[in-house]
C-alpha cells in the first residue's frame, strides 16, 4: 500500500514536470476612483515563484455593488507586468450603492493559473474649484461621502493632497485637511509656469484611505505663468545650424575678394595668350 502511494506520488511529480503545470501568479491591484470620470485600475502581475513580472496576460476588470456586477474592460500586462484601465465607467454601480468591490481577474491559460485580486472602496466625491479670492489664487475642495443609509455626509478631517501633473510625475503643491463641513482650501502659488496657454491642471487626491482607497479629481485653471514659446526657436548662433550674419558676410567678402582677383589673373593670362601665335619666335628685347 505504501509503495503504491509513493509510486503515485512519483508519477504525478513526473507528470507535472513534463506537462508543466501552469504557474501560479500574484496580482496586486490599485484602484483610484474619479467620480464621473470613472475608475482607474492598475493590476501588477508577478509569478509566484520568483516574483518576476509577467508580460502579455489579459486582465479583466470588473466592479460589484450589492448584487450587481459590471465588466469595466480589459488590458494586457506590459513587460513590467502592469495592466492598466483608465476611466472605467462604473456609473451603473454608483446608482445601486456607494460601496463597491473592484476586481482584476486573470482567467488562466496553459502557462499561468487563474487568479484575481480585489479592493473594496466606499464612494467619496471630491469637488475641486480653482478660484481667485481677493486676488489670491485658492484651491477649494469639498469632500462628500455617504453613510450606511445612503445619505451624503461631509467628509471631515480628510487629508487631500494637491498636485500639478508634470511631464514625468506629479508636483506636490500642498495638503488640505477638510473641516467638519468637508471643506478645505489651499493658497496656490502664482509663479508656477505652464505651457504656452497658461493653463494648469490641478489634481486633488485622497490617497490610500482605509475606507475610500484612492480618489482623485482634477480641474483646469489658467493660473500658469506662460512660457515664452519663442524662446524655443534656435537663433542664428555659433552653436545653431545658421551662422551669425556677420560671419556669413565676412566669409562672402573674403571669398569674393580672393577669387575675384584669381579671376583677374586668369583673365590677364588669357589676354597674354591671345597676343601671339604659337609659331612666333621669342622676343628677348627689354
Amino acid at each position: 500500500m505504501k509503495t503504491l502511494a509513493t509510486l503515485i506520488l512519483i508519477t504525478t511529480a513526473i507528470f507535472s514536470a513534463v506537462a508543466q503545470d501552469p504557474m501560479a501568479i500574484a496580482i496586486e491591484l490599485v484602484a483610484t476612483q474619479k467620480g464621473d470620470q470613472g475608475i482607474d485600475m492598475k493590476a501588477t502581475v508577478t509569478d509566484d515563484e520568483n516574483s518576476e513580472p509577467v508580460k502579455g496576460l489579459t486582465i479583466q476588470f470588473s466592479g460589484t455593488a450589492g448584487e450587481q456586477t459590471v465588466a469595466l474592460g480589459e488590458a494586457t500586462t506590459n513587460e513590467l507586468g502592469i495592466a492598466e484601465l483608465k476611466g472605467g465607467n462604473f456609473d451603473a454601480l454608483r446608482k445601486v450603492a456607494h460601496a463597491f468591490t473592484f476586481t482584476a481577474t486573470f482567467a488562466g491559460n496553459e502557462n499561468y493559473e487563474t487568479n484575481h485580486a480585489s479592493v473594496d472602496l466606499a464612494e467619496v466625491a471630491i469637488e475641486l474649484k480653482a478660484e481667485t479670492i481677493d486676488s489670491v489664487n485658492t484651491v477649494i475642495v469639498n469632500v462628500t461621502s455617504w453613510n450606511e443609509k445612503g445619505e451624503a455626509v461631509p467628509f471631515s478631517e480628510g487629508e487631500v493632497k494637491v498636485y500639478v501633473p508634470r511631464m514625468f510625475s506629479l508636483l506636490p503643491i500642498g495638503d488640505i485637511t477638510t473641516d467638519e463641513d468637508g471643506y478645505g482650501e489651499l493658497k496656490f502659488p502664482n509663479d508656477l509656469p505652464s505651457s504656452v496657454s497658461g493653463e494648469l491642471t490641478i489634481v486633488a487626491r485622497i490617497e490610500e484611505h482605509e475606507t475610500f482607497g484612492n480618489a482623485e479629481t482634477s480641474v483646469v485653471s489658467n493660473w500658469g505663468v506662460k512660457v515664452d514659446a519663442q524662446a524655443s526657436k534656435l537663433p542664428r548662433a555659433l552653436w545653431s545650424p545658421d551662422a551669425p550674419l556677420w560671419m556669413v558676410v565676412t566669409f562672402v567678402v573674403l571669398m569674393v575678394g580672393v577669387w575675384y582677383h584669381y579671376g583677374l589673373i586668369v583673365y590677364e593670362l588669357i589676354k597674354v595668350h591671345r597676343l601671339s601665335k604659337p609659331t612666333d619666335p621669342l622676343d628677348f628685347s627689354e
Binding site: E79, S232, L238
Partner: protein, 316 residues
C-alpha cells in the same frame, strides 16, 4: 543653410527613418527584451531631497524598462526637440556614494561595453584642504555648447528642448568636438565598437544613440527616446540614492523618481551651481554642493574592483 535646403534634408531623413522603422519591426520579431525586474511588495530605503530616509514600496517607484522609440512609428528625425520643453538635470553631490548603478544602467541601455563610460563618476578634491567627494558627470547639454560650435557638418547639434545630440550617420569622425568639449564628455569609437546584447538593440536614431557606429563620436544623450515617452532617463531611475533629478525647466519641475520638487526652489534652497560656470558654456546640469553628506566618501570604494580603485589613487 537656407530653409528650403534644410527642409529637403529633413524630408530625406524622414524617408530614412521610415526605412528604419521597418527594420525595427524585424528586430522585434527576433527577440523580446527579457528584463529582470526587482520583486514587488518590497520596500527600499530612499533619500528625500531633504536628506531624510523614507521607505518606499518598489511598486511605487518608477522603475522602467528601456523601451526605445523603435516601437513607435519612426517619423522622428531626432533633430527637432520635444515641443515646448527645456530639459534640465540637478545632481545632488551630497547623496552620491559612487554606487555606479547609473553607469551600469546607462551602459545597458545604450548597449555599450563596460569600459566605455558615457556617464562617469569622478573623485574630486577641489584643493588640498578640501574633502574629496564623488562627482557624477553626464554630458552637460550646454546652452552655449563649444562642441556644437566646431562641428563642421552639423553632426552634433543643439535642439530646441536643450539637448545636445549626435547624428552618428552624419559624423565624419574628425573629433573636433572632443577637443571642443572642455569636460572630456565625448568618446570615440577607435575601432569596431562592441555592442552588448545586439539582439535587443533598437534601430539607430540620434535619440537612441545606439547601436554605436565605428569611427564616430558618442556621448550621454539624456535618453531622449525614453523622455519622449514621458519616462525618466535610466541613470535617474537606477540611482538608489536619488542623486539625479531630471525635468523640464519650462515646468520648473524636477524629479528623481520618488520625489518631485520645483527646480528653482531646489536650486535656491541648496545653493545649486553649474560646474565651471566661468567657461561660459552654460550647462543644463546643475550641482548641489556636497554638503550634509549622506555617506562618508570611503563608502564609494567599497564595491570597486582594484582597477577602478586605482583610478583614484591621485586624489587620496
Amino acid at each position: 543653410m537656407d530653409n528650403s535646403n534644410s527642409k529637403r534634408r529633413n524630408f530625406i531623413r524622414t524617408g530614412l527613418a521610415l526605412g528604419l522603422a521597418s527594420v525595427a519591426g524585424a528586430t522585434k520579431l527576433l527577440g523580446e527584451p527579457d528584463e529582470k525586474k526587482p520583486a514587488h511588495n518590497h520596500t527600499v530605503k530612499l533619500l528625500s531631497p531633504d536628506g531624510e530616509i523614507v521607505e518606499v514600496d518598489t511598486a511605487d517607484l518608477k522603475v522602467e524598462t528601456h523601451e526605445h522609440a523603435g516601437t513607435m512609428a519612426r517619423t522622428i528625425t531626432g533633430r527637432e526637440g520635444i515641443e515646448g520643453r527645456k530639459f534640465v538635470m540637478v545632481i545632488d553631490l551630497g547623496k552620491c556614494r559612487n554606487a555606479r548603478k547609473c553607469i551600469v544602467a546607462c551602459n545597458k541601455m545604450h548597449h555599450i561595453p563596460e569600459e566605455k563610460e558615457w556617464l562617469q563618476v569622478k573623485l574630486m578634491k577641489d584643493n588640498e584642504n578640501a574633502a574629496p567627494y564623488w562627482f557624477p558627470k553626464t554630458c552637460f547639454h550646454c546652452d552655449n555648447p563649444p562642441c556644437v560650435k566646431v562641428c563642421p557638418v552639423d553632426a552634433t547639434f543643439k535642439r530646441s528642448d536643450g539637448l545636445v545630440l549626435i547624428d552618428n550617420e552624419r559624423c565624419i569622425g574628425c573629433k573636433f568636438c572632443m577637443a571642443g568639449c572642455p569636460y572630456s564628455t565625448r568618446v570615440f569609437n577607435w575601432g569596431e565598437p562592441e555592442i552588448t546584447e545586439p539582439a535587443t538593440c533598437p534601430p539607430y536614431s540620434p535619440e537612441s544613440s545606439t547601436p554605436s557606429k565605428h569611427s564616430t563620436v558618442e556621448k550621454c544623450d539624456f535618453c531622449p527616446d525614453m523622455v519622449r515617452q514621458g519616462k525618466l532617463p535610466d541613470c535617474v531611475t537606477a540611482c538608489p540614492n536619488g542623486v539625479f533629478y531630471f525635468g523640464d525647466e519650462n515646468e520648473d519641475t524636477v524629479t528623481n523618481g520618488s520625489e518631485t520638487v520645483r527646480f528653482s526652489q531646489l536650486i535656491k534652497d541648496k545653493a545649486g551651481y553649474r560646474f565651471m560656470e566661468e567657461l561660459g558654456t552654460k550647462p543644463r546640469v546643475y550641482y548641489l554642493p556636497p554638503s550634509n553628506r549622506m555617506f562618508p566618501v570611503e563608502r564609494g570604494f567599497k564595491n570597486l574592483t582594484d582597477d577602478q580603485k586605482a583610478r583614484f589613487k591621485d586624489v587620496q
